[in-house]
Symmetry: C2
Subunit: 740 residues, 2 copies
Amino acid sequence: MKSLLKLCLTLAFGTGILLHLSAQSSIMGFSDDAAKKQTALEQKLDENVQANNLDEWMKYMTSHPHHVGSPWDAKVAEFIAGKFRSWGYEVKMETFNVLFPTPKVRQLEMISPTPFTASLTEPPVEGDPYSAQTDEALPSYNCYSIDGDVTGELVFVNYGIPADYEELERRGIDVKGKIVIAKYAGSWRGIKPKVAAEKGAIGCLIYSDPEDDGYAQGDTYPEGAFKNDHGVQRGAVMDLPLSPGDPLTPGYGATDDAKRLDLDESPSLTKIPVLPISYSDALPLLQALQGPVAPDSWRGALPITYHIGPGPAKVHLKLEFNWDMRPVHDVIAKMKGSTYPDEWVIRGNHHDAWVHGAADPISGMVTVMEEARVVSELAKTGWQPKRTIVYCAWGGEEPGLLGSTEWVETYADDLVKKAVAYINTDGTSRGYLFAGGSHTLEKFFDQIPRLVQDPKKGITVYERRKALEKFRNMPSADGFTLSALGSGSDYSSFFQHLGIASLNLGFGGEGNGGEYHTMYDSYTHYKRFKDPDFAYGATLVKVVGRTTLRLADAEVLPFEFTHMAKTLEKYVDEVQKLTDNLRESTAKENRFIRDGVYEAVNNPNEPMAIPDIKPDVPYLNFAPLENGLAAIQKEAQAYDQATKQRMPDLESMHRLNQILMHIEQSFTREEGLPRRPWFRHFVYAPGFYTGYGVKTLPGVREAIEERHFDEAQEQIGILGNLMEGYSMQIGKASALLVKP
Amino acid sequence: MKSLLKLCLTLAFGTGILLHLSAQSSIMGFSDDAAKKQTALEQKLDENVQANNLDEWMKYMTSHPHHVGSPWDAKVAEFIAGKFRSWGYEVKMETFNVLFPTPKVRQLEMISPTPFTASLTEPPVEGDPYSAQTDEALPSYNCYSIDGDVTGELVFVNYGIPADYEELERRGIDVKGKIVIAKYAGSWRGIKPKVAAEKGAIGCLIYSDPEDDGYAQGDTYPEGAFKNDHGVQRGAVMDLPLSPGDPLTPGYGATDDAKRLDLDESPSLTKIPVLPISYSDALPLLQALQGPVAPDSWRGALPITYHIGPGPAKVHLKLEFNWDMRPVHDVIAKMKGSTYPDEWVIRGNHHDAWVHGAADPISGMVTVMEEARVVSELAKTGWQPKRTIVYCAWGGEEPGLLGSTEWVETYADDLVKKAVAYINTDGTSRGYLFAGGSHTLEKFFDQIPRLVQDPKKGITVYERRKALEKFRNMPSADGFTLSALGSGSDYSSFFQHLGIASLNLGFGGEGNGGEYHTMYDSYTHYKRFKDPDFAYGATLVKVVGRTTLRLADAEVLPFEFTHMAKTLEKYVDEVQKLTDNLRESTAKENRFIRDGVYEAVNNPNEPMAIPDIKPDVPYLNFAPLENGLAAIQKEAQAYDQATKQRMPDLESMHRLNQILMHIEQSFTREEGLPRRPWFRHFVYAPGFYTGYGVKTLPGVREAIEERHFDEAQEQIGILGNLMEGYSMQIGKASALLVKP
């Protein structure tokens, strides 16, 4: 096959056919001839996808709880490895031993004014046999909470993010020495104990309020899909915005011989004990609070007046964990590339779950497997990918992206050389295609949803998504837009640590649920409320399968820079506006303080503290960003023009692809972001105080938000340099396309 | 006294002093000399106000329930009349016999799926002895509901306004033959049974959801101020936007010899039986509903998933009323004017309540009484008002503005000739001054809050209000702005029926409560949560007292037209934008329908009907409004200039005042608004589908909103003519000021 493909290429270039790298009518990165073949291949892909495989595999893999270290976790990894092997892949099981604490003692009681002991249990529900497998499951807890035995008055802190503590301050409420209770949502969960500890709290409870996740959304499980009064969201609370992965081997692979930190040296563990609880366990605690009534926007859907406290509710929280080392199993399956075996297209999803994990992560895992199966079927017809395809089933994602991070840290040197792109999925449902990723891939990806039919609506996945944007009055760009990626799934170490261009894909918007990280994320729940016939799962295989195959087979890698330039322009504009708005709002607030406006509107019956005068916001020199942007815009245009020229010879093309696949790394820097060197990408990062939520141009943006203006100015210089470097790489790519 | 005042006037004019009618430094409508005297008078007003009178009178008048027809209602009227008499006023008790139904049978039960009988009772609460006077009180009901005995499936209709029925339609839900349950709020309560009946429902329940009125706001009574789970909002449900007043004498006074309609001829009664209930009575009914989950924005704060139905909840509602005639007592107290006895400044508040009515209406009633007392004290010092002051304590406001409407209808001929202005208060609390009214009075009123101190903050009432506007980022006009008046209190017949310039004043924003129209609107509640020391009540006396006294004593009535012109400009702009927006949104919706956007975003698991294509919105000829506005702007400017001229002689001044006091009537028309001739003011009216909420330029605006574009065009012509007429009256006024 290799020789035949080479022949095709030779023919294409020999006869002087133009490469329509940018044309919508053809396939980006493919010559016309190659595009025809690719289209035929994709038709076979579509024909081969079988939804019932997804169903069958999910049913098997979710038949028992399979958290890290459980017997069924190993079985699931072996099952996946066995499947990959049976489809002809070269399979390696990579196992890392990592710190994985599990609960030994979980105790929460109110000691006054009314004694109450929290149940901390999720009872089995009728019609869902999986929910009765409590013996095999981990009870609800937050992973990487420290041990603790604390007693204190309770304070309700809304979502427990920094803005909420400003509201508390205005009411003269200090959480020092108190135990806080925060609602889930509003930030990633790990932010809540982090901020609480910064403010001096000694313990943290997190509960799912029915307003955000429960009966306010719809009927609760098992009548409906939504979170019932005993459902508890488990989840990791390590300091993820600092770095994901094994807390004892930060920044390097948790190999057998790796040096491990002592437990008390790890920067990732929480500083205070933290426990997630259900809304039935939260209700008596919140009901017993007095003190100021919570602001309107803090209110949930419990049938009470929400008070802030502190107290008189006084609670006792006792947590002890087994601080054990456990194995996480990554299944790595390769199909070698015919032409460029050292260019890797990596496609992954995790397989570990908090309990049964039907939606999260198995719904996505089965799409990777079906894609791999179909690709192996295609390979039986004589086709072979030009580049190596690597299918990955990650272990230990739930506690902190452990499996993918340790693998990436272990093989970092190889990956920065060989990885073309990383394509991730995780839980998926039904409805609309969502896609996030590097904007160097936006124009490439845009072609794909236009070719795939929505399984229920008789229009393409693309048309459906654009209709939604119209319906919601979203500013509608031409084409399919990618969102920026923060964190929360396995792309993080590829993208933000190594600067490998990544995508994260899935369907959603029409499945219902409150099962996330509970005992009720079961096959039964998935079949009733998510994607009952796996029609959208099968559609996702068609979307992602095309993405993988095109990246594997493109003659010229379909990386493109005008979309990145446009997106960066937006971000640069945003950080300038952010500064201007902060300057105006600060000046206005200071004026209000000086003019007595706050004093005049201060309700004498519910007085609040007047805020302090804040230093004026200076004007920053944004020229480095503007110059960097201008350079990228210019080079992106030039490259766009260059791709319309006659192609260079094969040797130059190889060199071109080598430049293209590494170009995202120009946005990274060995030193990483301030105070979190693991995060090296200077365009995309999870927010330091959002956790999963993305902050674009994070070094600059967060320094402005936190009012560290000297640092902001420094970061502008650093980012400007990176942008210049990125533009130079584009220039090098263009030079290979343009005849001298 | 009369001669002395005349002398002053003569002196002022004789010596050629300019009348600073517009200057902020002096008092509008007063010469400099007169302004000095007025300032001294107002100082005496301030010195004489005694907050403890308000407290003492409230305590007495609210010591028993005093609804229309109750023994204590008559006692209260006599008490007020006695006080007025003791202060030297000429007092007349005007009694009208009106239809006032009271409950005989009230029965509400759920017959399936689970039997439940609504309690329909408000139990006494600890610490509030008044709440135990249940024997003297009317039970909770909606006044002017018809009798009925209906059984049907229940449908939850959100607030029960027209937009809510559009949502129901999209879900294929019809209320024909059903009983609807609507939340209080979102419109005046009478709109709910009106719209329900239009849609074919056979019965209507209205409940207070704790989201809008209950524990979601704060602690409930008696722990806190807010509505507890048994509190029920009583209230009238007559078709108020059609006309207020006695349902058997629409448009004319309910005098002894008046011709009365038969009960079944009255257009004002509801078409279906309607009953208000508490949220504890509503909970089991709503909980038993199934069918589609209600949209997010419909959700309340009950701890359930809100479903729409219909059914399976099936309810039986039986209502029978005593259809009795009852007396309403208006107390009318006059102090005759020295110079212009036939120019009346009218100042009123109602005295009847649904139960004890401490906040509504006695908190306002006691400010009228204290004002009258202080004015009588001033009169003892030798001062006498130039114009006649008429203090009114209205009966029967609660069932439908009965007392004020019957009085106004009875004396309409006199009033259109003699009334200068009507100044209303109703319930009042603490916090910020609110004021609504005719914008011919805006510039005049603006001077007053600048002179009165907020009792708690060491700044003026004006400064506090402007600080609030700044704090809330409200578009801040120069000066104190008046809101436009809809309905809901006794100014309605003066203002909207006869075109007498009116004001409605009070304090609010810092008192808490859910007592409105419940058994718990007691002295105890008021003293704990509203205005405990009556400091704001006393301040209101100072504000309104000034308003009354200045209108009574002004040499030239302080009516002014540039503010009206500016306000009309805004309204004219609004109705044009409304049309444009409606055109655009209609075109967009039609495009979405044609382009399949609605179909594309229709969730196959929760399908909704696609809306029908609507006729395009035509372009209307707004020139008549623009020309009318231009004429008013021109004449308003000219009058403003003219007031800076030397004054005419006394005779001309009298003629000038005669023009000024009748000028608001130029906006009225005998034929009234379409389908509701009682409402004659073409600038301000309560909305046909909002009930209390104002619709400015109602003929035009509502025709556009209802997509009756032919009628809109016709109304534009009518309003344009009225505006031309108004401008001509201003011209006549100017002519009297400008020397030929």
